[in-house]
């Protein structure tokens, strides 16, 4: 067993499970082998991985850097920041972004022709709805921030006895 482990790097069950996985995927591939659209399927499958791991992920990781920089720039040597603002920016940005991502085809009217053919409906006003929802998220976050800031300021102002 330990020789097996040294050679393979995990227990035999690990290999059995993975063989089962590859067999299933191989079976799916065999079902699609003669599908005339196999290339488009492959491109979209790999494209989804590349699009997330190498495009979307780096974008939002980088988008967080200015927030960290701003946080660093706002640091005070003499007194601490009462309420950090960073998460009051992150939360509405993420909320708006995830809605924008999920509803991207509708917000950008990308499926509008097919939608109209199917249902007689258009997508007019939905972009505006998304912008409104975004505005509400930012406003809500700002209000909560202001309330927290006010509370924290009162909390620190009262015991202002340091000479």
């Amino acid at each position: 067993m330990s020789l097996w482990r040294r050679l393979y790097g995990a227990n035999p069950l690990h290999l059995l499970v993975l063989i089962a996985c590859f067999a299933l995927v191989g079976y799916v591939v065999s079902m699609l082998w003669e599908d005339p659209t196999w290339l488009a399927l492959l491109i979209w499958f790999l494209g989804a991985v590349i699009g997330h791991d190498l495009v979307l992920y780096p974008l939002y990781a980088l988008a967080d850097q200015p927030l960290r920089l701003a946080r660093w720039a706002r640091r005070r040597a003499d007194r601490p920041v009462l309420v950090p603002a960073v998460n009051h920016v992150r939360a509405p940005v993420l909320g708006s972004a995830v809605l924008g991502l999920i509803y991207l085809p509708t917000i950008t009217s990308h499926g509008e022709d097919a939608l109209r053919f199917t249902s007689g409906l258009g997508t007019a006003g939905i972009l505006e709805n998304w912008l409104l929802v975004t505005g509400v998220l930012f406003l809500g976050s700002a209000v909560i921030y202001a309330v927290r800031l006010g509370r924290a300021a009162r909390g620190t102002a009262r015991p202002a006895t340091h000479a």
């Binding site: 979209w44 791991d53 992920y57 917000i107 249902s119 007689g120 409906l121």
Partner: protein, 462 residues
């Protein structure tokens, strides 16, 4: 001051990986100095770690299992025994076949609502899970054993599968068909690729997940602490062999509670703005969904999946000259709309639920399908083939199971109204005038509109 104490913290070092054969090769690879993002110091979030990933993993284990199973059930709901599920021949890749039930009438509404809205609600969790494991994607050395090499390949099925399914599912529900392949085939086979990766991943990682959840974020078994920690008191998870916790953590700007709240809040936000497409009372909230819109035409104000214009039917074919043909018995029966209206009418409150995830409850009235079967001389059909006046579309015809014909609420509907006793009206042209099928728990598109004929079939007799 905080800086001073931080400097006293002993350095966090990743344990030396156990190398499989050929160990020299992997170890040699590991000694090559690499730039970011392959260098482990690239990943500085103090929140990443085995425990955090396990929390997301546990949510997805339950949630994605529901989404996968309800999706596979939808394939059964389409009637694969009649060759009308898409793709028609899937070999062994399906749940055991069974006759889709008609009771409860909201069954398909529930399963498909869970599938579509559930998938949307889980999107933030999937993204968070992928965020939590991204250091593994760039881990160096990329491989430490044959076992790990194979496991990384299987992760392509897992990650590629889930992203492909979410992208195709979300686009299809929003009528964006930019792919160059058929949705049903792609989404169905994509699901099986994902299932392969998912099952393997769960089997291999389940013990790790359970162990990490039991131990808690600090490896002490103390669960209560992470619930109360502030960003300042948040400590990184201990470094372990799983390589998720950072070796060089940055200062926390968000607590664990905050991160989970952010992800959960994102899911709740998506849920609130999406549930309205399948929950009538909350429809006004579905402001981003193409199916949250209203037609504003009273009893006929509900979603249309095929307009009369889109069907290509000449409206003259639906006028006074329209006849319903019933076959299967000894002779053919032909009925005009006034003949149908003169037959005993039955009223039923039934949902109509689309594979795209929207649904609505309506009051329908018309002639029971079983009365039509008896009229045709086949009072106990094994199935019924319904043909629309429309001939072109994929759903211009549907075969119904015996239970779907004989259910007392299965109708050839002539009139429709809202779900709480409002006025009824004739079906509008877009909703299938002169007559359409409505069967409890049947996928929306199989409730054939503009019905031209129904053939009640005895499989033993033919």
């Amino acid at each position: 001051m905080a800086q001073a104490t931080r400097d006293e913290v002993p350095p966090r070092t990743a344990p030396e990986p156990t190398y499989g054969f050929p160990a020299g090769l992997w170890r040699g690879l590991g000694r090559i100095p690499v730039p970011p993002p392959f260098h482990p110091r690239t990943w500085r979030s103090p929140l990443r770690g085995t425990w955090l990933t396990s929390v997301f993993g546990a949510v997805l284990l339950v949630g994605l299992t529901i989404v996968v199973l309800t999706g596979l059930m939808s394939y059964i709901a389409y009637g694969p025994q009649f060759g009308q599920a898409i793709p028609a021949d899937v070999g062994g890749l399906h749940l055991p076949f069974f006759d889709w039930p008609t009771d409860p009438s909201w069954f398909y509404r529930l399963t498909q609502g869970l599938h579509v809205v559930g998938g949307m609600v889980l999107t933030p969790v999937v993204l968070a899970k992928l965020w939590s494991v991204v250091p593994k994607l760039f881990a160096w050395p990329p491989v430490t054993s044959v076992a790990q090499l194979l496991e990384r390949i299987s992760l392509l099925a897992l990650v590629g599968g889930i992203l492909f399914e979410f992208v195709t599912g979300l686009m299809n529900a929003q009528y964006d068909y930019s792919w160059g392949f058929g949705f049903y085939t792609a989404h169905y086979y994509g699901a099986w690729v994902f299932i392969g990766g998912f099952v393997a991943h769960v089997v291999l990682k389940f013990p790790t997940m359970v162990r990490a959840l039991r131990r808690g974020p600090h490896g002490t078994g103390a669960f209560d602490r992470w619930l109360h920690d502030s960003p300042a008191t948040t400590e990184p998870e201990p470094v372990d062999a799983h390589g998720l916790a950072p070796v060089d953590p940055g200062r926390p700007t968000l607590s664990r509670r905050g991160l989970l709240g952010l992800v959960g809040g994102g899911s709740a936000l998506v849920g609130v703005l999406s549930i309205g497409q399948t929950w009538d009372a909350l429809r006004p909230l579905a402001v981003l969904s193409p199916r949250g819109q209203s037609y504003g035409d009273g009893p006929n104000d509900f979603q249309i999946n095929r307009t009369l214009a889109g069907s290509g039917i000449d409206p003259a074919a639906l006028g006074d000259g329209w006849r319903l043909r019933l076959t299967g018995g000894t002779g053919e029966v032909s009925l005009s709309r006034s003949d149908l209206a003169a037959m005993p009418q039955h009223t039923a409150v039934l949902p109509i639920a689309c594979v795209e995830g929207w649904s609505t409850t309506r009051t329908w009235s018309g002639v029971r399908l079983r009365d039509l079967a008896a009229l045709a001389g086949v009072s106990a059909p094994d199935n019924a083939f319904v043909q629309s006046v429309e001939t072109s579309g994929a759903f211009a015809r549907a075969t119904l199971q015996a239970n779907q014909v004989l259910d007392p609420d299965a109708l050839l509907a002539l009139r429709v109204g809202d779900d709480d006793g409002g006025p009824m009206a004739d079906l509008s042209p877009d909703h299938g005038f002169p007559a359409r099928v409505i069967v409890p728990a049947l996928p929306g598109v199989h409730n054939t509109k503009w019905v031209a004929s129904i053939d009640f079939r005895r499989t033993g007799a033919t």
